[in-house]
């Protein structure tokens, strides 16, 4: 198998986290994406072999989940939330603009392999609508212009800072994180942003707080 050296060992590390090996399958497939850029047939077969599954069983799982790519994802996998709240608040417009700007549609990759584009569903960030993601890192409260700006920056090789997270890294690097391998970036992105603090700030403004418990 043409998987990078050490892939099997890293997959075994994932298996070792669980009381029952098969539980490791989802993170293992994330790791395959980290190694290969998508779920390659070889990677799928290796996971199946390591867990004693048929390839039909392994493919049954990988094809169920939308994060698993069936062909190489772009180095920067761009998502635009088109779920109604984001969509109505601007996501649909951002989607149309980005699709045109990149010249690709849903689930397509730019010829240079730099970008892939996906219409994504709700990212649990509705307070921050309209939301876009680059390799799944949040880019909040986007406008058509700021969205185009993000891809232009990436194209120019400039770092893009997630609004609630680290500087956006490659698809494969992020997939390694999602597979559960520590990247040391947990402290990046700092504390809560203004929207997450909206209530706390307002409470402080109004001098409101939760009652203290009676101790004794």
């Amino acid at each position: 198998m043409a998987l990078p050296d050490g892939t099997r060992e890293r997959l075994s590390e994932i298996v070792a986290r669980y009381p029952q090996p098969r539980s490791a399958l989802l993170p293992m497939l994330h790791l395959v994406q980290a190694e290969e850029g998508y779920v390659t047939p070889d990677g799928l077969a290796l996971c199946a072999e390591m867990l004693g599954l048929s390839t039909a069983e392994a493919a049954a799982v990988s094809s169920f989940y939308t994060m698993y790519q069936r062909r190489p994802a772009g180095e920067f996998h761009i998502g635009v939330c088109i779920n109604p709240l984001c969509g109505i608040l601007g996501g649909d417009a951002i989607w149309a603009a980005l699709s045109e700007h990149l010249g690709i549609g849903h689930d397509e990759v730019t010829p240079d392999g730099k970008f892939s584009l996906e219409r994504i569903e709700c990212q649990a960030a509705c307070t921050h609508a309209p939301v876009m993601t680059a390799n799944w890192e949040y880019l909040d409260q986007m406008t058509v212009e700021s969205a185009k700006g993000v891809v232009d920056k990436i194209r120019a090789g400039e770092p893009v800072q997630s609004t609630r997270g680290p500087v956006v890294r490659s698809f494969r690097d992020t997939e390694r994180t999602v597979a559960g391998f520590d990247d040391g970036l947990a402290d990046e992105g700092g504390g809560a942003d203004a929207l997450m603090l909206a209530g706390l700030n307002r409470a402080k403004e109004l001098g409101q707080a939760a009652p203290e418990p009676k101790r004794g």
Binding site: I82, E137, V178
Partner: protein, 433 residues
């Protein structure tokens, strides 16, 4: 009603997500307090607190824990549902970003109470930063002796595994989540058996939402009376509300259950200048929409139910009159069609069909006969699908028809985007090119 930050109380400290930041405010003291009690005492406290699950269904948490058979010689498992994927729900991810140690401490106490020695935190895969922060918090908890073997010398052993999903809303449904966590397709399981008796690896399992678990340390630390001083008899406690949509200050607002939507809206700065609330959904796209006439309804499980909707995840989405209901409903149905797991016929085929018809309305090409047909299709799904996703999919259209039938009638002659300028509905309408 006043805001009452508890879980969010210290988020304005830049290191709120770290061990140091958490411990600065009595972090992990709840754990020590719990370990000094028997597991059954801990369950008793949570039962008495009346805490109801924050994942959407509002099931009493202590009661759920008490279903786990004790002394059965089997391993027990705790699984945290951090799959937050319900459209409109955006409270668990912020908690994990800003306060992951509250989750970890809650996990430790809960696992102790239900006598689990293994806990899993199932986080949706698309949120790498939340995954990082929870992984780091777990790592630090191990380092501090709060997790692992013989926690704080108590003899209690606990392993915590942070697990990533891979993109499937259905995995938020608790039994689908278990299948997914076992490395299978995330399709719901038949009940019975219920997870409390045969869940993960067919062993007794408790599944709780992130926010639910984050309530536990505060309840242990501050007591049942304190907790019950918030909210109502049937909906005790406080809630992390996340307000989104056409409001001036969207964001996280923590307040007692029972605050009205009008009050919450006021905290959130109201709808945009010169606009009015057209419709709002109390907690996710799966609950029926309400209108401006319901703004004074207290946000409790019972009051919202009486108003014809559900509190759900407690994350209100607010839309003003620039919004096309037809467009919103069609979008939600496209979501349910995309996320239907495929297992049962009504949901799999019904969403396929509804979307086909609704798209015609969105394009202004519906026919009058299609409307009763759509209502029937929804009725053919509701209550007949395998899991609640099907019911959810059958909810938006009938709810919208209740208040906005004329807009669907308009969908027989004009496209949604011609009736409602989509630019006007964007929040950057003043900015966009």
């Amino acid at each position: 009603m006043a805001l009452t930050p508890v879980i969010t109380a210290h988020w304005d400290e830049p290191d709120s997500h770290t061990m140091a930041g958490y411990k600065r405010h009595a972090g992990y003291t709840g754990l020590s307090a719990a370990l000094a009690k028997t597991p059954d005492e801990v369950i008793g406290i949570v039962k008495d607190s009346g805490l109801r699950g924050r994942g959407g269904a509002g099931f009493p948490t202590g009661l759920k824990w008490s279903f786990v058979p004790q002394g059965d010689g089997k391993p027990h498992y705790l699984v945290v549902n951090a799959d937050e994927s319900e459209p409109g729900a955006c409270k668990d991810i912020p908690i994990m970003l800003a306060n992951p140690h509250a989750l970890v401490e809650g996990v430790l106490i809960t696992a102790y109470a239900i006598r689990a020695s293994h806990a899993f935190i199932y986080i949706r895969g698309e949120v790498p930063h939340a995954i990082r922060r929870v992984m780091a918090a777990v790592r630090d908890a191990y380092a501090a002796g709060y997790a692992g073997k013989n926690v704080l010398g108590s003899g209690f052993d606990i392993e915590i595994v942070v697990h990533s999903g891979a993109g499937a809303y259905i995995c938020g449904e608790e039994t689908a989540l278990l299948d997914s966590l076992e490395g299978l397709r995330g399709q719901p399981r038949l009940k019975p058996p219920f997870p409390a008796t045969a869940g993960l690896y067919a062993a007794p399992t408790v599944i709780n939402n992130v926010e639910t678990i984050c309530n536990i340390p505060t309840i242990i630390n501050n007591g049942v009376d304190w907790f019950r001083s918030f909210g109502t008899e049937k909906s005790p406690g406080f809630k992390v509300f996340a307000v989104s949509g056409h409001v001036n200050r969207p964001g996280i607002y923590e307040a007692p259950l029972g605050i009205t939507m009008r009050e919450l809206l006021e905290h959130a700065g109201g709808v945009r200048e010169g606009r009015e609330v057209k419709f709002w959904l109390p907690g996710g796209s799966s609950v029926p929409m309400l209108t401006a006439e319901h703004l004074d309804t207290p946000l409790t499980y019972e009051d919202i139910a009486a108003a014809g909707s559900m509190l759900g995840t407690g994350t209100p989405m607010v839309f003003d009159e620039t919004t096309s209901v037809v467009r919103a409903v069609t979008g939600w149905l496209e979501f349910y069609k995309h996320e239907s797991c495929g297992k049962c016929t009504p949901c799999r085929e019904g969403t396929y069909w509804i979307v086909d018809v609704l798209k015609r309305f969105r394009a202004g090409k519906g026919t009058p006969e299609d409307l009763p047909k759509l209502e029937e299709i929804c009725a053919q799904i509701f209550g007949r699908s395998f899991c609640a996703l099907g019911d959810a999919a059958a909810t938006p259209f009938p709810a919208a028809m209740k208040y906005f039938a004329s807009e669907f009638a308009d969908g027989t002659r004009a496209a949604a985007n011609d009736l409602f300028d989509p630019v006007a509905a964007t929040i950057f309408s003043g900015v966009a090119s």
